[in-house]
Structures are given as C-alpha cells and as structure tokens.
C-alpha cells in the first residue's frame, strides 16, 4: 500500500498522544494552532461520516433483499412457472433457464473474441501504436451504455431474425462482457514473464505453439477471473434484454424464442401491483445477488492461484 509518511507525530486526530511533541510545542510555542487542529478534526469527522453514509445503503439493500427473499424462498421457485396475479406460489424456472442460456450465448461470443484480441495486443503488437488504439477502443466500448448495446442487438439480430430471441439477448450482453474479458486476459498475458516465451521459442516452438500451449495455459487463472467477473456484470443487466430477449411467461422452446431472464423478471414484477409477483421479485433479487457474490468470491480465489 502507500508508503506511509511518518505522520504520527503531526497527527491532528490525536492531540497530545506523543509527549515529545507537546514538550517541543510548549518550549517554542510553535505548535499547530487550535484553529488548524480543529479544522483537521472537522475534516476527519467529515470523511468518516462519508464512509458510513456510503456503507449504509449497501447494508440496507443486503438486509432488505435477504429478509424479503428468504421469507419467500422455497423449492417451488426453481421448478414452477411464474404465477398469474393473485394466485399463491409459483416460481421462475423459465427465467433461471433463460438466464443460463443467454449468458452461455454471450460467453460463447465474448470469451474467444476477448482472448484473441488480448493475444494480439499482448503477444504480437505490444506497445505498438495500433495496440494503443485497440486499448482505447476497448475502453470506449466499456463505456457504451447498456441500453445502447440492446438497441444495437435489436438492429442487428432482432430485425434480421424477425423476432425477439435468446440469441439477441446474448449478442447484447456479449458487447458488455467483451471489454471485461479482454482487459483481464490482457493483464494476465502481460504478467507471464518473457523467459517462458523465450524458452519455448528456443526449443523450436512456433509462435502459435508457444501461445496456445505455454502462454495461454499459464494465464488461465486470469482469463477465468475475467470471464467470471464479466458474467457477474452480465447477470444483473436488465436494460439490454428488455427488447432483445424480451420476456416469456412460459419456457422458451428454442433459442430463437422470446426468453425470460431473472433481471427482466425482477423489473416486470417489481412494478406489479400483485403481492405474490412482488415477492417473487425479491426472491429473484436474492438469487441474482447471491450468484454475483459467489462468482466474485470464486474469481478472487482463482486470481490468487497464479502460475507466476
């Protein structure tokens, strides 16, 4: 972390905590004036307040989601279809399956794409002008609003296929996942020491053999981290799915049908006037946050298992 300056003897938060300092002050009467001390104490209180203020919403969200979600959690939510208004019970197995398929499609597009770009930037064109340009493009792409990714997929996939589908949702999410996958994969590749590559080349391996059999496997923990982080982002995305995967009260029969997803279900049911649907929105929220937490922890664990 920060190389800490020896600031303790000047600390304005604990006046009088170090005796030598106070004696110097009394001797020369040069100490920090009360006004400056008070200002320091005031600012310290202020930032502590800020930190508490920021933590408050998080704890409130977690608390609300857990209490409301657990209260209505039952095995039925995994096996049944969304209930009609006023009918008790029901679940969202269609949304669970839909989320799975949409995320799978999004990963199938974004993961190979991201890794290949990372290989190019890190292995073939490191520090070149063009790879700086690609890096810039990745950063700009990561700033594309999620709803615009949805509009893009609508214009490209929905209009082409003539209907809403899991494919369209997958394409929209892939646009959002791509920058995350690429960035972490690139970092991972760059962390592999050059000696590894030189060793492989020295043994007569081609570039392709070196990268596919030596470098990429070594960078696998990073790539896995990137994929899981991008999945954590994608599973909560709602806006790009609203008019690509749309929603489906029933099980989607194929990937070309409108598909229910957990996030869109939360949106639809959160504004529903019926209590049973609202309850399901909480259970779905609990499930999504739980999945994201598990994914993030797994990602951290993987990231710690580095080969180099």
């Amino acid at each position: 972390m920060t190389p800490s300056p020896p600031s303790d003897h000047l600390s304005d938060t604990q006046p009088g905590s170090s005796p030598p300092n106070t004696s110097v002050e009394s001797q020369f009467a040069y100490g920090v004036s009360p006004g400056r001390k008070a200002f320091g104490a005031f600012m310290t209180t202020l930032v502590v307040g800020c930190a508490l203020l920021a933590a408050l919403p998080l704890f409130s969200i977690l608390w609300t989601v857990i209490t409301n979600g657990v209260a209505h959690l039952s095995p039925r939510v995994f096996t049944e279809l969304p209930p009609p208004p006023m009918v008790d019970g029901g679940g969202f197995r269609n949304a669970l399956m839909g989320t799975f398929w949409v995320l799978l499609l999004a990963s199938l597009i974004s993961v190979p794409f991201g890794i290949l770009v990372a290989v190019y930037v890190s292995e073939f064109a490191r520090d070149s002008q063009f790879s700086k340009f690609v890096r810039f493009g990745i950063n700009v792409l990561s700033g594309v609003p999620s709803i615009v990714a949805g509009l893009f997929s609508y214009g490209v996939v929905v209009l082409l296929m003539g209907g809403f589908s899991a494919w369209a949702g997958g394409v929209a999410l892939a646009v959002l996942m791509l920058p995350i996958v690429e960035r972490t994969a690139e970092e991972g590749l760059k962390s592999i020491p050059p000696e590894i590559r030189q060793g492989a080349i020295g043994l007569g391996a081609t570039n392709f053999q070196t990268i596919s059999q030596i470098v990429l496997p070594s960078a696998l923990p990073f790539i896995a981290t990137g994929v899981t982080l991008s999945l954590a982002r994608a599973i909560g995305e709602t806006a790009p799915l609203l008019f690509t995967a749309l929603f489906n009260q029933f099980d989607a029969k194929s990937l070309s049908d409108p598909t229910a997803t957990l996030s869109v279900l939360i949106y639809n049911f959160s504004t529903s006037p019926f209590q049973n649907q609202k309850d399901l929105a909480w259970v779905a929220s609990l499930l999504v946050i739980g999945i994201i937490l598990v994914i993030s922890i797994v990602a951290r664990r993987i990231a710690q298992r580095q080969a180099f």
Binding site: A54, V144, I147, I289
Partner: protein, 309 residues
C-alpha cells in the same frame, strides 16, 4: 520432404493465427463503428424527418407522429449532474479516507470490499430497493426541504413517490464506487516525497491533503468523475423505475421527468415506425454524448499516467 511439409504447415498455422488475432483486434474498432452505423441506419427515418430540430423540440406525440427529445436530453443531463454533485465530494472524501493512513490496513481491506460490493449490486435491484425502502425513507426529508426552501425553484414542487431527485440520489450511490476506486488509485500513485515535503514544511495532515495531494492527483480524479458521468448518463433501470416518465422540463428537481434511457426502456417494446426510429435517434444521441464523455475521460486519464511515469 515430409519434414518440409510439416514445417510449412506449422508456418501457415502461425501466420493464420497471427492474422486471426489481428482481425479480431481490428474487430474492436469495427464493433464501435458497427454500433454507430446500426443506430444511424435504424434511426434514419426520424433523422430525415426531424433533423437537428429533434434536439430542440419538446413535443413527443405518438398520435401526431411528432417527436422531440429536448425533455429527455434535459432529464438525462440534469439527473447525471445532480448525481455527480452528490457523489464527487463523498467519493473523493472516502478515497482520501482509505489512502491517507486514517485506518490500519486490516480495516481498510474490508471497507474496500464493501465498496466493491456496492458496484456489484444490479441496477434493477437498486430500483426495487429504492421503491420499497429508500423513497419512503427519504420522502419526508425532501418534504422538509420543500417546506423550508420551497421559494428556490430547484425545490419548488412537492415531492411525490417518483421524481428526478430520487433517480439522482440512487445514481449517486451507484457511481460512487467508480469515483472512489479511480481517485484512490491516483492518490496511491503519488510520489511519497510530496507528502513528506509538505509534512516537513509544517503542514498538518489535512493541509497536506487539500493543498498538495488533491491538486497533484486532480487529473486522475477528473478522469474518475468523467467515467462516472458516462455511467450515470447511460443508466437505464433506475431512471425507468424512479423518474416518473413525464415528458416535461421542470425547474424543480423534485418533479418527475424522463431520460433518454428510461424513455427507450418504457416505450421501445411497443413502438413501431416513426416512433421506433425516434427512440433509436434518441439512443444515437445518448451514444454520442457518452462517447464524447468517455473519450475525454480516457484522454485525461492517459495524460495523468504519462505525467506519473
């Protein structure tokens, strides 16, 4: 003979692999262009009909097929700016709190983790939480502000269950992790000599922070603010759930409004023809605004990195 063949095959694979990766690298720029072209093409009927007047007209009537995006652009920009005004001081304050030795490292790490978690909560869950918990909690406060400061046009209307201010408050919570993370990085990367020098000259910790460290890391912080602005401008679900979907420009922050993203989320599903093209036109405008903000942020941050090294 066979040896030479396998060598040439290996070479061919090598070439092919290089070209494949290069093609995908070009593809990144290709996707950005593709997004812009797709939006332009699908929005073209509206662009051809309304031209740039779309930006300045505030009428949105499906029956008359007249569409103008001024209230949407206003709502988008104002809600994001209000969110920034709340989140920047708090976020930078927390970044300072987390870097400047206020806390032992053992406490610092869990706090950083909590803040990362804030970034991981999906926006639709923020919206749900806001409807059920946050708005009932904050509404009395806003009512008080309205009663006391109601003579200021900004607080001129009585708060209801929806409104621009709620959107901004939730946006502020959502973007603060971005501001904290990047401001923290730029504070950490400052050379320690700056701190030591200021302290040696007799500055207190807070004088060091406010007069030396924050000015020195300003470009990093500005970059963080720009990235957060880009995120706030494009955020959809919170606006769609909380802002009230009213196509009007109101001086009061407590009044309902509409953003580009919330408009698209609300109407796109049922829209056809010119209305759909107009929504896509609005989406194109959103894309261009965020593009400009993000490119600017990139330039600022990369300049700050060059200064560092």
């Amino acid at each position: 003979m066979a040896k030479f063949e396998s060598l040439s095959v290996a070479r061919w694979i090598d070439r092919g692999f290089y070209r494949l990766t290069a093609a995908f690298a070009v593809g990144i720029a290709g996707i950005l262009v593709w997004i812009l072209v797709t939006l332009f093409q699908t929005a073209y009927p509206a662009i051809a009909k309304f031209g740039l007047g779309f930006l300045f007209s505030s009428r949105w009537s499906v029956q008359e097929e007249i569409f103008g995006a001024l209230p949407l652009i206003y709502g988008t920009v104002v809600s994001a700016l209000v969110a920034l005004a709340i989140a920047v001081p708090i976020g930078v304050g927390i970044a300072v709190f987390l870097t400047e030795d206020f806390l032992p490292a053992q406490i610092r790490t869990p706090i950083a983790f909590v803040i990362e978690l804030l970034a991981a909560v999906p926006s639709v869950v923020y919206g749900l939480w806001a409807i059920v918990v946050f708005i009932p909690f904050v509404k009395p406060v806003l009512e008080l502000v309205h009663q006391v400061l109601g003579w200021i046009p900004l607080f001129g209307s009585a708060p209801t269950n929806v409104g621009l201010m709620y959107t901004s408050l939730i946006l502020a919570i959502m973007i603060s992790p971005t501001i904290i993370a990047i401001s923290r990085d730029s504070l950490v990367s400052l050379p320690p000599q700056l701190r030591q020098g200021a302290l040696a000259l007799g500055a207190t910790r807070w004088e060091t922070i406010l007069k030396v460290l924050l000015p020195a890391s300003l470009s990093g912080i500005v970059g963080a603010v720009m990235l957060a602005l880009g995120r706030a401008l494009g955020e959809t679900m919170v606006a769609a759930m909380l802002i009230g979907s009213k196509n009007a420009i109101s001086a009061s922050l407590f009044a309902p409004g509409q953003t580009i993203a919330s408009m698209i989320a609300n109407q796109f599903g049922e829209a056809t023809g010119l209305q759909r093209a107009s929504l896509l036109y609005a989406g194109l405008i959103l894309m261009l605004i965020t593009l400009a903000v993000n490119v600017l942020a990139e330039l600022i941050i990369s300049r700050f990195q060059q200064v560092e090294h």
